[in-house]
Symmetry: D2
Subunit: 343 residues, 4 copies
């Protein structure tokens, strides 16, 4: 029945909801049949933008709607668990905004519930569906970079403060998911510990944090997330033993650049403290053409494909749980002055 259309109910028409509505409405395999939004002004915005889609105040009505096959949840983090559980219990497929839940227990409960119900539980980890991340993952999987040495990510800007959690829970899900996808899925790198240092300049939640993730061997990932920075920066460096790459997500023309640069260290002469035979190689720089489709649209169709065809997506419940586990461990480290928390 692959020709069928998935009928979507969207809960939450705030900041991200309109983007979800637009992409699910564009189809071809999905259709938006209802929206629930508790804030009157936002319901009014929906009435102007999508007057042909029914918009109600009550999420429960959408969840109970027999015309809705799948529920898309774009509400604040602390409501994810309740809404997703209700939707799964009502027999709906569920897509949840990232992160899946504010605790490992809630995330695992939702994953278990979905598994038992035979329903799809997917998380909108949009970055996994970008042309840049797909290209980077394929470069690493294909061995083009050689052995991966480290990953350094900077995700900072003058950003909206979230009222009920810190910058780690807001921004780091992006980096952690990308790391999980480009290092975990491709070459099986397994995170062993995480540490986090942060500071709160305005109130109780940290607006600036540095995360370090240690993997087996000498692989390290470092993440800088920050709501109080003068310039929007979205830059990831991935260094390999053969090549290195820089992904600047703010660059419209050359987001990914691959550098034929590497270091080669010969065996150190033990006799002499000064003998270190390091050879540097630098060569061409290439910026590959990327898949230019809107990632959210690719994600929406991946959700449809899993719901309608059973084809597993790249941001399913297991991914969602893993990311929450990393976030919770980072939170614990933060509360322990940056001490390493084993994973």
């Amino acid at each position: 029945m692959t020709a069928a259309q998935l009928r979507i109910g969207v809960i939450g028409y705030g900041y991200w909801g309109p983007n979800l509505v637009r992409n699910f409405a564009a189809g071809p395999r999905t259709r938006v049949v209802a929206i629930a939004e508790s804030v009157p002004a936002r319901r009014q915005a929906a009435a102007v933008a999508v007057p042909h889609i029914r918009c109600v105040a009550d999420a429960a009505a959408v969840i109970a709607d027999p015309e809705v096959d799948a529920v898309v949840i774009a509400t604040p983090l602390f409501t994810h668990h309740g809404l997703a559980r209700a939707a799964l219990e009502a027999g709906k497929h569920v897509l949840v905004e990232k992160p899946l839940a504010p605790s490992v227990a809630e995330a695992e409960e939702l994953a278990g519930l979905a598994a038992r119900a035979g329903r799809v539980l997917m998380i909108d980890h949009t970055f996994v569906y970008t042309g840049a991340v797909r290209k980077i993952a394929s470069l690493i999987a294909g061995g083009e970079l050689g052995r991966v040495l480290y990953l350094d990510s900077v995700r900072i800007n003058l950003g909206l403060f979230q009222p009920d959690y810190n910058v780690i829970w807001d921004l780091a899900p992006h980096d952690l998911t990308i790391i999980d996808f480009v290092l975990g899925k491709t070459v099986g790198a397994t995170a062993r510990w995480i540490s986090a240092i942060g500071v709160s300049h305005y109130g109780r939640h940290e607006n600036l944090a540095y995360l370090t993730v240690g993997f087996d061997g000498d692989l390290l990932a470092h993440i800088h997330v920050n709501w109080v920075a003068p310039v929007k920066t979205r830059r990831m460096i991935i260094a390999g033993s053969k090549k290195m790459l820089v992904w600047d997500d703010t660059s419209p023309v050359e987001p990914v650049k691959i550098y034929e640069s590497s270091v080669d260290v010969k065996a150190i002469d033990k006799e002499s403290a000064y003998a270190l035979n390091v050879q540097y190689r630098s060569g061409d720089i290439t910026s590959p053409k990327l898949d230019g489709r809107e990632a959210l649209s690719v994600m929406a169709q991946a959700f449809a494909a899993e719901c309608l065809d059973g084809k597993a997506s790249d941001s399913g419940a297991a991914v969602g749980v893993r990311i929450v586990r990393l976030l919770a461990a980072a939170q614990r480290s933060l509360e322990q002055q940056g001490a390493r928390v084993a994973l």
Copy 2:
């Protein structure tokens, strides 16, 4: 006797020595009268570039030379202490490449020796003499940024591996000195702890490290130093409560940019978890004109001014000791998996 010229003997004509020779030779208050260099090929290079300056193999000859008023030491780190001590004991003024010494004990011993001998001991912390750092310090001192919230520095490139120490001892002296100058000297911020995480991909010394320095209150500094990066990056963000600035030392046209951007958080309504009144302000961006003189030349003349006129420089023995203390603490943290080391 301010009209006199300081007669300089330079020890070490490797990577940095030629720059020191060129700047001290350019005067007006300094003159290079001798060079010592143990490697024959480098002596040959000196013979081609500066055939009119005497160049010998033996550092002791320069140190003992009665025509030499001041000795400039541009040799490997582990030779600093021995050479500097000999020169001070011979009654010479001394300028040492950064960092002053590989241990706090050695650094302190040199400082004490210089004080007792009544001779100048200065460290070539060149960055303190750049137009950018002087401008940043004056902005902070004048309150233009407001209260400083954090400092984030990235100093990475495909860099020369040092054979006998790690990337922290090689690159972080720059950042730590800048921090010491723009935060310590201006607004009296005092570092309370340091933590360091690093990794070694080639041999025994770390080629990549992240340092965090905690100050009183909620001020944090973070430093990324790295010898294995595809693109040379020299970027420092300093965020204040009123304005923020970015210093990109690789930009020839606009190295320092000041952003009229800030965040203003009103008192949080305790009744509601969701009430967070954050106001964002963003305005003009200004790139101030900087003093364009070569920093090394400014440093050289500051050394002359201290030796000849007794005018204290901004990178004297006390600064050198403080920086070594920070480096040693970072090293200790590195060896303890990033645990905070109190200062």
Copy 3:
């Protein structure tokens, strides 16, 4: 009756039409009541995106519609005159995509018709409504740049070839309108001649052209328009006797930069051929914060204000005719190997 809403009929739902529909639909003083589009696939696109707006095949139906107060024409250049004339004759206000018409005679006829009918004829010269152009005009008007010396504009990219006219008619209307606004309206600079050189690499219409516009005195404007360029460039330099500015319309963060740079030449010593006392001044660089509203929305509301309140816009019929006159003169120069054509 300023509270009334202007009821808009849009003709053409191709490349630009959807943007016009979106902005006129967003109001508050305008409403889109009908769309005409002759291509079935594009009507289908309208049905998906704006299912609540009536969309017909026949432009005449929209023009005749008594519920339509104003007609917005976003169709190919050679249809502008016929559609605009019909709409004006039907008593509608008219907004036409740039340029107004493919000949001076047609442009003037439309302007005359609108004047006699007492209806608004406005051209969608969107750039005049951008924050950047408003800021630049106010800087020049306020004398901040001093006397304007020259303007140099580059507007190039791998662009859509227009089938029925060359790159001058496609892209140069933007530059010419901006020049007309920032130099003509503010300081009364009057263009005296124009010359154009171009080349056609693919078929009969030029895909690359250089235009020079001479003004009274020593003021010169130069424009490079190009459909076959590897990188999208939208850069305008305006040099004044006191300051200079660069507008890079592709930069999201700092589109306009003002340089405190200038040249000051003292009276030349007549005795000596070599005496030329030029003094250079360079200082701070400032990027002013700009009005960030979408220009098309500002333009749409300016159209509403003129139709409803009689408040003249900045891209009325007279501007439209002037721009067509410049384009036609450039075309004549192009056909005469770049000979200057007087204006």
Copy 4:
């Protein structure tokens, strides 16, 4: 006798002379034995920088010196002819700063004199020896760009005004030589006409000019030279039917970028004015690694190779004469309001 060293006398130790001295002194096949400089302060500068090289006031003494094999002339343009003629008549090889002479007659006379005397006459067209230009020429020669469509060069900055000639004679020699080398030498493109428009804002010589060079077929080159620009720009676009490239000479990391972008226009359907089957292709962007040697040093050794081994350089007398011919034609066009001047 290829092992011999060429003994160089340099006339002129002003702006460029020190660079020539440094590169010829660095050898290995050249040695600087004398400098002539008429300005006392500049002779003093030479005494400080190169105290071991004899420096005299009188150029004639260097030209007559039997220890001098070759004379390097780095003096103002209007002195080139007299000095070069005297040196050639004294039996010396001659290297002249660009451009060779201020008139075609003088340039041709020097070329003829050198030919008759059997001496080398070379011009310091340094750009021909840069890694970027060599790479670009080899890409074009190898057909990698396809058929070359156009070349667009921008060479502007807040530059030193030359007292005795305009910006065309100062800056355009660079562009014209590069064009001559990458288009003329490689694929035999022959310039047929030139036109120039300029303006003088300060005194009698133009400080801003636009040059257009027409070649056989539809190939066009355009050059913007300017002494009064806020930002230093050195950007050349070369578009080919297969690929395009941008050379940004101010970029330290990626000066040359090759874009796999092109336009493919199918035969136009004659039936329909609107049918234009243009296909766009855009793909990877590559920045090739370039030869990083200092161009002036490569040029110096090319001069040595021609003098000592008879190996013809890429900037010999014939090139010098061609460039002066283009400059003189541009000057004529400038004086005729941009009329095309046939070559």
